[in-house]
Amino acid sequence: MSHAVRIAAAAPALTLALPQRVMADVGPSRFNLQPPVTEIAAHIYDMHTLMLLLCLLIFIGVFGVMFWAVIHHRKSRGATAAHFHENTAVEIAWTVAPVLILLGMAWPATRTVIAMKDTSEADITVKVTGYQWKWGYDYLQGEGEGIRFLSALSTPRDQIEGKAPKGENYLVEVDNPMVVPAGKKIRVITTANDVIHAWWVPAFGAKQDAIPGFIRDTWFRTDKEGVYRGSCAELCGREHAFMPIEVHVVSAEAYTAWVAKQRAGAAALSADDSREWALAELVARGQKVFAANCQACHQENGKGLPPAFPPLDGSALVLGDKNGQIDVVLHGRPGTAMAAFGPQLSDADLAAVITYTRNSWSNATGEAVQPADIKAGRKG
């Protein structure tokens, strides 16, 4: 079996797990923490190595003694039991010694904790919002200020369901990666829209829960350009496994170019939001929006998965007054899995997807919901 072969082949690498940091670039890590690319991650890496060695030493010490006894002090070997059952000096010694070892461990840890928490003087601040089940990025300050986009898994469903061969970056690839310049201090502030998520990029040593209604922060700075992958690290419901994080660290020039491109895209978007659309145009665009945002729950055929995920096909809400539906889509249904999509999608996207649901499957209202309706709904 190929697994077995690969594991056997990997066995020697196990003994090399410690020096692995030197050979950092050889693909994703298997045995140890991922190769660190920030100072914090490097601290963590080294601290873990240190802890592992200390624990290993204690382990060998304690179990060396125990197995010596197991082998030599056996009744079957004629051992007779001694009668001692306490020794104050020894007992004090083995209480104090661990305390000292622990102090040795606590010292580097304390320094790292303090460094990790220092999010001041950032060059760029990005707000990261967890949604069920994608990430929203919002460049709040620094170069690129004002850029905002959503980032969702880009692995096709077919690969997940085994209908297509799995790609190299299976489940750790997204449609719109976060892009940041190398060498700059990036402050990531996290929050969430529905439930708790956690934004985690192992190579940066940064993991921060994203808590609905609260802002938390973390930071990273790396000189090493490249693509870094992570995942949501807090159970957030059905698709928790499917909301990865992809960060591209690029040169200063490439970053400037990326910012310019995003700006141009944003201009086009706002143009979309302010014009009138034809029904067919809306339905075509809405289908894509539906597939990316709604389909996981309400299903491609609009039948949903009742009772948790109600059907849209034939739904009274969808067939009723458009403002009712706009309200639910914008603000969600508290206490259910129906999220508020208002903060996530543009007016044009919302108009498109609502129009799509009102004109698909057996639904045929023939009604086009315009971005202007959404704008009105946002106010109301």
Binding site: M47, V90, L171, I196, H240
Partner: protein, 525 residues
């Protein structure tokens, strides 16, 4: 006193026969047996869920179950194992052994004892039944974090009420144990002469009384947030989702020691028996147990380093957590010192106990690594944590339970457990346990999150290995059924004191222990 006739004092009216005997019994041995049976059935149910989880994780991709159902399985596996298997099993041991060890005729409140047990099946029905209601069981993880748990369907409410009922059962059970230990010891049995198992249970019972009501409060708040419009865990109403975590872990961390302290007690009975040498450092064992219990109330937020606590919070919880290694270390050293220069023999109970020390300590070390806040920020919510807690829970609590079962089976059934089968059970469990859970350390370090039904490709090999191990481990547990059945029917008859080095009152009564023991308290010198 005229109303008390001699027959009431000495004769025992015939208890109801058949099923009604078990339903109405006030006998601690009957009740202990029911606890043990119940917990084993729950262990099998939780195990089947674990195997389904492992099967789905055998390969990348979704094969067997849908993500939603996978999350339900993970959640219920955790809940069933913790509340259904491990905790009741220890209560079963307490019921059987504490009265025998302290020379009491029964538990202090025999009728309430019956109720404590019979509350568990209703709780189990609610919990397991929730799989079959619309929307399925709760899928918010065994920690039931809000606000995810606020989104769930009716299965969540059933779990909440199940937890209330189990909490009631645990509180009554704990009160019973405390009162029995404090009030019913035979004359001469001072606290510091008491077998260590009684000590660990006494302290565990205090933990239970202190934290089960807090859990009940936490899930009650979820219930009202779900249905009655309160805002405990909702920022828009001025609450805080993280507050749930504080309340939960104020329960949750002592809870994990609830699941390990009695295990320490069992091991502390077995090691001296087979070393034929008194337990080293009895007094320091007692103090260490108490220290662990007290510390356990002060470390809860080490489960929450990644929520983003202030620096002082992180540092405090890190230091406090690290301190627990000290009293736990004292225990490990004492066991090793007990074995040192003993006359050791390795019958099945001793094998399990020795194996326990060895593998539990690995779990303790990984716990310590988790306690280092910066490292924990990397490995929190990854398979490293899964590896950690299965080392302490399976190789810790479960192995100690097996050790205790082999140790006291002669007293329960009157026959010796089959040594060959017992040893086979031990060795195959030990090997497969490590095949299952050791690779999870690597998975976690390399970055595999927990509670996911599907994963990136670099994790495939170790997951496959873990799955193979899990099936091996599961099959090994069937051997235990064979051992128990065999020792109920056939097998060598056991003497009152079947183990040469055993000490204690429980070995002064015949094997199997008669229905009523110590009706007149023995006097302990």
């Amino acid at each position: 006193m005229a109303a008390v006739t001699p027959e009431q004092l000495h004769g025992h009216p015939h208890p109801p026969a058949g099923l009604m005997r078990w339903v109405t019994t006030t006998n601690h041995k009957d009740i202990g047996t029911m606890y043990l049976l119940f917990s084993f059935v729950m262990f099998l149910s939780g195990g089947v869920m674990a195997l389904t989880i492992r099967s789905e994780l055998f390969q990348p991709g979704l094969q067997i179950v849908q993500p939603e159902f996978f999350n339900q399985l993970t959640t219920m596996h955790g809940l069933v194992m913790v509340f259904g298997a491990i905790m009741p099993a220890f209560v079963g041991f307490a019921n059987w052994m504490i009265p025998l060890m302290i020379g009491a005729s029964d538990m202090a409140f025999a009728r309430m004892n019956n109720w404590s047990f019979w509350l568990l099946p209703p709780a189990a029905i609610l919990l397991l039944g929730s799989f079959f209601v619309p929307g399925g069981a709760t899928a918010a993880g065994w920690t039931l974090y809000a606000p995810l748990s606020v989104q769930m369907g009716m299965g969540m409410d059933m779990a909440i009420f199940a937890i209330h009922i189990m909490g009631l059962s645990s509180i009554m059970g704990a009160i019973n144990i405390i009162v029995t230990v404090l009030n019913m010891r035979a004359p001469g049995m001072t606290l510091m002469k008491m077998p260590l198992f009684c000590w660990t249970w006494l302290i565990t019972a205090y933990l239970l009384i202190a934290v089960m009501p807090v859990l009940a409060g936490a899930v009650t708040m979820i219930l009202t947030d779900r249905h009655f419009g309160t805002s405990f865990f909702n920022a828009a109403g001025g609450g805080d989702p993280v507050m749930y975590q504080h309340i939960f872990w104020f329960f949750g961390h002592p809870e994990v020691y609830i699941m390990i302290l009695p295990a320490f007690g069992i091991v502390s009975q077995i090691i001296p028996t087979f070393a034929r040498k008194p337990l080293f450092g009895y007094a320091s064992m007692v103090y260490a147990t108490a220290s662990i219990a007290i510390l356990s109330f002060m470390v809860w937020a080490h489960h929450m380093f990644s929520t983003g606590m202030p620096v002082v919070g992180q540092l405090y919880f890190m230091y406090a957590t690290m301190l627990i290694a000290v009293p736990t270390g004292v225990k490990v050293f004492n066991w090793v010192a007990t074995m040192w220069r003993g006359a050791l023999s390795f019958e099945t109970p001793m094998l399990w106990a020795t194996g326990f020390i060895f593998v539990f300590t690995i779990g303790g070390f990984t716990g310590l690594i988790c306690a280092i806040a910066p490292i924990d920020i990397q490995i929190h919510d990854t398979y490293y944590v899964v590896a950690h807690f299965h080392y302490v829970l399976v190789a810790g609590s479960l192995f100690a339970l097996f050790a205790g079962a082999y140790f006291w089976l002669p007293k329960w059934t009157g026959r010796m457990p089959d040594e060959r089968l017992g040893k086979l059970h031990f060795w195959s469990s030990m090997v497969f346990f490590n095949i299952t859970f050791f690779p999870m350390h690597f998975l976690g370090l390399a970055g595999m999150p927990r509670r996911i039904p599907d994963y990136a490709l670099q994790f495939a090999d170790f997951n496959a290995l873990a799955t193979v191990g899990a099936f091996g481990f599961g099959l090994s547990q069937l051997i235990f059924i064979a051992v128990v059945v065999k020792s109920m029917r056939a097998g060598e008859r056991a003497a009152a004191k079947p183990w040469e080095g055993a000490e204690g009152l429980e070995w002064t009564v015949p094997s199997p222990a008669p229905h009523h023991t110590f009706e007149h308290p023995p006097v302990v010198a």
